[in-house]
């Protein structure tokens, strides 16, 4: 029921029903205004539940928003803003909210107490995962995900400030005003749609005017300060090391306006002032969960801020003076107050409504909505008709953030609750209700004083100027649970009641942490915001201890649920990793080449031609280019490291197994690099461009690793060496020109023709390409007469297109990764498929490359026992029986006749291909004592792909074993 006719409304739907809301209000307010009491079914027993609060602590009113890809479950109706066309659905009910089949759980509830599942579904053991758990999970649950990929956009962002003020109630506003006026860089974050906290929700005066008016003035002053940043709809979710705070920002308008839905902030603050306020706690009385039973502060918020009466006849039940404030506000708004029930004998309150002191609510009635309550007074029991009951069990300071770095709060007997333990979070101080100071005047004062202290710490001077306000004392007499027939709910979100906690104690789960896990109290989206202290008090009572001795569970981040989507903002789809493109990328894509990932790079797999229906056709053709004519391949992705300095050669001698100081200027040498543990790290060629100038190439995958290794060696192991290393991978576009006609082709693009005499195998040097200074290396990864030509990257695309065009004229063309792989397997050249981190120079047959004349990284470790000899699995070639017998990488190798089981495995296959040159399938692999077994026939078995083949063990170099083609 609305207390006044709104000026502007929007229409949204709840389970298909059209409902009018007022812009700025939460869905919960609109539902209450429309008289809708039943909004949800509870987690375990599917009990009818209504709206309980008016904030992010809401336990009951969880709803699903939107549908399809935009579906979002478990949204609190109390923090969800109404908007035109919004679709809201109830959850955890079937077929409908009113007629929920699973409500049968409630009828058998005596059997479903805490621990029921653990005790009942014990055997047979295999049934738990396959049968019991899925059924239980389906019955007990919250909202569901759509199963479709999320299409919304999210953001992550970073902010920095001198002072972060968390919460914009009276304390937070005063803290921000005080720090802002002193000139500090301030961020004021508040989770509500409007700043002001309880000042917007209570009827009281600040500085002689209505509190809401004072808030408007304070915000206007803050907005005018360039050093203050106001962040509404932003919940600070966690406190982390070094003054870093996580915060979840909801973006007004969101999806509909083409904006990101949410933004996850990391705010780094020199100091923080926590002004998070307090959360009202319920009282555990019988059947206290009926729709219509609400927290008194929530009732006041709906009446005072949004002009919505949550009921026609409202009763109020409490153990402190705040309950009376509720009755007073309701009466002032013209809402009928059915009764005020105060558990304190000495309560004094005046008003035009029935007052019962020393009384308790012992029963409630109404299936889908509250109809009446039964109270017990000194004079017996009495039934009171009401459709809403406002409950106040007192206030719990919102200490959560102070516990995020392992701090434990301190019990305060005066307010019967926990308060923050000072210095729990370095750099953070607390003020106002979250500190146990509950009156408005106390909040305003603490906010100003604490902020003044903080800015003084930062070397600024603040003036403390506090407005006048209500300063009534907080009078409370603890009341946790009321005895009586029926369940007395403590944790509404997890359906935990008083008996569950007592049962936990009885079964010796007496530690609060054990009780929590036994009953599931304090879990789920609200993380026990409202229930923790009550549950603790009941446990303390059941175990005969005081509350401080019983202890408390701690609070972990996040303070409110944070979607994984917002934490992974920007990383959806291809945002997961950067994409690196070569200069020839478009030229390759233009030719229809499927691009495959190599690290972050994209490289062409093969270049299909018309009439080819299978990649093998393209690959075989491209292999033919290189073996018979000339092929072009972009090899720019290989790491290139420029090494200069008086000790450049000494550095190379130290990191490579073989010597480089003996390399002549203008020559290239193949090098093998070991890790400190003696296993192979990487391989590649290094060219000597000058006496003190080298350029090293690495494999594509290990470019970053090798660069890091060199920097580590220079900084940590050999700081005596005077050499500098810098990556030039991106500076040069480099292309392999491979095949018998490679020199002929190069001579069409080079400004000066080259000859075999000037450019023998493994020569390198400067060349001029169309007037551009380039580099030429006569190296070969295919075993053919081949070169790599490099030009500055700006010319890469242009040179690639010209090389390819020229190659095609000569009966060749571009080749991709598939052909490159075939060419190198035919030659027995290794890649990281072979040097995968567990193989040594000995294993790959290169132990003679470990120079005896000098030391190098990994040399000593490679000579350890067990890393040499017959027991090692050694690199071998594997030849299949013919074209119809494909091999598979990853398969294991077995002796003929041995069973194909793990213990009999003699090795494994690392690379396979079909070789058009040799006309059969080839493989490389590692076989125990393999080098002594050339010529033997063994068995290859792939259990995953179900392939069994006999293969002949041979030398890994299948083609042109004397290397004449590369030199010729």
């Amino acid at each position: 029921m609305r207390l006044a006719t709104p000026e502007k409304t929007v229409t949204f739907t709840f389970d298909g029903q059209r409902i009018k809301g007022v812009p700025g209000e939460p869905v919960s307010a609109a539902l209450l205004a429309a008289g809708i009491k039943l909004v949800a079914r509870s987690f375990k027993y599917h009990r009818p539940r209504g709206i309980m609060s008016a904030g992010s602590e809401e336990q009951n009113a969880l709803v699903t928003v939107g549908r399809g890809t935009a579906q979002e479950p478990n949204v609190r109706a109390t923090t969800l803003e109404v908007s035109e066309g919004l679709e809201v659905f109830s959850q955890n009910a079937w077929p409908s909210l009113k007629h929920d089949v699973m409500a049968v759980n409630d009828l058998v509830s005596p059997f479903l107490a805490a621990g029921f599942y653990y005790k009942t579904f014990m055997w047979p053991r295999s049934f738990w995962e396959k049968l019991y758990e899925p059924i239980i999970r389906r019955a007990a649950g919250l909202g569901a995900l759509s199963g479709e990929s999320n299409q919304d956009t999210y953001e992550k962002a970073f902010a920095f400030c001198d002072v972060l003020v968390i919460g914009a109630g009276p304390a937070g506003l005063m803290a921000a005003l005080t720090a802002g006026r002193a000139g500090a860089d301030v961020v004021l974050a508040d989770e509500d749609t409007a700043m002001g906290g309880r000042l917007l929700r209570e009827r009281e005066d600040v500085d002689g005017k209505p509190a809401a008016d004072w808030v408007v003035e304070a915000l206007a002053e803050l907005e005018a300060m360039p050093n203050v940043r106001l962040m509404t709809r932003t919940t600070v979710t966690g406190a982390y090391d070094q003054g870093t705070y996580g915060a979840l920002g909801r973006i007004a308008g969101g999806r509909a306006a083409g904006k990101p839905l949410e933004c996850f902030w990391r705010i780094v603050a020199k100091r923080a002032v926590l002004c998070a306020g307090a959360l009202e706690r319920p009282i555990a009385f019988p059947n206290n969960d009926r729709p219509g039973v609400m927290l008194a502060s929530g009732v006041r918020a709906y009446v005072n801020r949004w002009g919505v009466a949550p009921g026609k006849a409202v009763a109020v039940f409490g153990n402190n003076d705040d309950a009376h404030r509720t009755a007073r506000d309701l009466a002032a708004a013209g809402v009928k107050v059915a009764a005020v029930i105060d558990s304190r004998d000495d309560a004094k309150v005046e008003g035009d409504f029935p007052l019962y002191t020393g009384a308790e609510v012992i029963a409630t009635k109404g299936r889908h909505a509250l109809e009446s309550i039964t109270i017990k007074t000194g004079n017996g029991t009495r039934v009171i008709r009401c459709d809403c009951l406002a409950v106040s069990g007192g206030w719990n300071p919102t200490v959560h953030l102070t516990c995020h770095m392992n701090g434990r709060p301190t019990w305060d007997v005066g307010i019967a609750s926990f308060v923050p333990t000072p210095e729990s979070i370095p750099g953070m101080v607390t003020a106002g209700a979250c500190n146990g100071a509950f009156s408005t005047a106390a909040c305003l004062n603490e906010g100003a004083e604490v902020a003044a202290g903080v800015v003084a710490d930062l070397g600024l001077a603040a003036e403390i100027k506090t407005p006048s306000a209500d300063d009534a004392a907080y009078a409370i007499q603890p009341l946790w649970a009321v005895e009586g027939k029926g369940r007395k709910w403590i944790d509404f979100q997890n359906d935990v009641h008083v008996k569950d906690v007592r049962l936990a104690a009885q079964e010796n789960f007496r530690s609060v942490e054990h009780m929590k896990r036994y009953t599931t109290q304090g879990m789920a989206p609200d993380q026990g915001k409202s229930s923790n202290v009550v549950a603790l008090a009941v446990l303390a009572d059941a175990t005969g201890r005081g509350i401080p001795e019983t202890g408390t569970t701690t609070f972990r981040p996040p303070y409110v649920p944070v979607s994984i989507a917002v934490m992974g903002a920007g990383s959806q789809g291809k945002g997961f990793a950067p994409e690196r493109f070569t200069t020839s990328h478009s030229a390759s894509v233009d030719r229809g080449a499927p691009m495959i990932e190599a690290g972050l790079w994209y490289r062409p797999s093969y270049f299909p031609k018309e009439g080819e229906s299978h990649w093998r056709q393209s690959c075989d053709r491209e292999v033919g280019y290189v073996r018979e004519a000339v092929g072009i391949c972009d090899v720019s992705t290989l790491g290139k490291i420029d090494i200069q300095g008086p000790d450049a050669a000494a550095l190379l001698d130290f990191v490579y197994t073989n010597g480089f100081s003996t390399l002549k200027v203008g020559r290239v040498r193949y090098g093998l690099m070991l890790r400190e543990d003696g296993h192979v790290m990487d391989d590649g060629t290094t060219a000597r461009l000058g006496e003190t100038h080298f350029v090293m190439t690495t494999t594509t995958a290990a470019a970053g690793l090798v660069m890091r290794h060199l920097e580590y060696v220079l900084q940590a192991i050999r700081p005596d060496l005077d050499a500098q290393v810098i990556s030039v991978t991106e500076q040069w576009a480099q292309f392999a020109v491979a095949g018998p006609k490679s020199r002929e082709l190069l001579n069409t693009v080079l400004d000066q023709p080259i000859t075999d005499e000037d450019w023998p195998f493994m020569a390198c040097g400067a060349v001029s390409v169309g007037g551009v200074a380039g580099r030429l290396f006569r190296i070969s990864f295919s075993g053919e007469h081949a070169y790599e030509v490099a030009v500055p990257s700006r010319y890469g695309e242009s040179l690639f297109r010209q090389l390819v065009a020229q190659a095609e004229v000569m009966g060749g063309g571009p080749y991709g990764m598939e052909a490159l792989n075939v060419l190198r397997i035919e030659k027995g050249f290794i890649t990281h498929a072979e040097i995968h981190g567990r193989t040594t120079a000995f294993d790959i047959g290169m132990e003679r490359m470990v120079s005896a004349k000098k030391d190098c990284i990994g040399k000593a470790a490679a000579a350890r026992p067990g890393l040499l000899g017959e027991s090692r699995q050694q690199l071998v070639g594997l030849k299949s029986k013919g074209v119809d017998h494909a091999l598979s990488a990853g398969a294991h190798l077995f002796d003929k006749g041995a069973s194909h089981s793990r213990v009999n495995s003699k090795g494994y296959v690392t690379s396979v291909c079909y070789s058009p040159t040799i006309g059969t399938h080839l493989g490389l692999g590692f076989l125990e004592n393999g080098r002594a077994r050339h010529g033997e026939v063994i068995v290859l078995r792939d259990h995953l792909r179900n392939i069994t083949e006999e293969v002949e063990v041979c030398d890994p170099v299948f083609f042109d074993q004397d290397g004449g083609r590369a030199r010729g």
Binding site: T153, E155, K156, A157, F158, A159, F160, D185, I251, A257, G258, K259, P260, C263, R266, V268, G570, S571, G575, A577, P578, E579, R580, F581, T582, T583, W601, D642, Q644, G645, P646, E711, Q715, D722, A723, Q724, I726, S727, V728, E730, Q731, W732, T748, V749, L750, D751, V769, G770, G771, V772, V791, P792, S793, R794, Y795, G796, E797, S798, L799, Q802
Partner: protein, 173 residues
């Protein structure tokens, strides 16, 4: 003989304007990394001062054409040669863009995890940091402008990330 056509790292991708923010490509005449050998830092700095008008600035700083670029290495905008240092042509290795406009800090706050507030990160300040998943060098070039340098091969990802952040900020109005 070949006839080669030059393309810049962001060719065909820039300029880009969304809301009040514009991204343009910066194409330096040349970029040269200078990494002094042991004991030569002072001499290299003086030589550079004579040649390009600025010596080697401190860590995280730019001075004229010379920008600190990492551990023991500086990037000079221009083609230079100096004795006593590893001098390497880097003209084609880097994509350099300028992002400029009112609220530019709000865009970068969505991508860069360092404090870029004007009071902290002043003109000529340099940060080697991350922009989303990219390694970048960020330099403040003015009250509302920054220069961002990343590897040439990742220019598309850089511009994609900037665009998404710019749209997010612009949509808020």
């Amino acid at each position: 003989m070949a006839s080669l056509i030059a393309l810049t790292p962001c060719a065909g991708l820039l300029p880009l304007t969304i809301g009040a923010i514009t991204v343009t490509e910066v194409v330096p005449q040349a970029l040269t990394s200078v990494a002094p050998f042991k004991g030569h830092k002072k001499a290299v700095s003086e030589a550079l001062k004579a040649k390009v008008g600025a010596g080697l600035p401190a860590l995280n700083r730019r001075s004229g054409a010379v920008t600190w670029f990492g551990h023991g290495v500086w990037m000079v905008a221009g083609a230079v040669s100096v004795e006593g240092a590893a001098v390497t042509d880097q003209s084609d290795a880097w994509a350099v863009v300028e992002i400029k406009g009112a609220g530019v800090e709000d865009v970068l706050a969505r991508l860069v995890p360092v404090d870029l507030r004007a009071s902290v990160f002043k003109k000529g300040h340099v940060a080697k940091t991350m922009l989303a998943h990219l390694s970048v060098t960020v330099v403040r070039t003015g009250a509302d402008s920054f220069e961002i340098t990343t590897m040439r091969s990742m220019s598309k990802t850089l511009l994609h990330d900037l665009e998404v952040a710019m749209r997010g900020v612009a949509a808020r109005g």
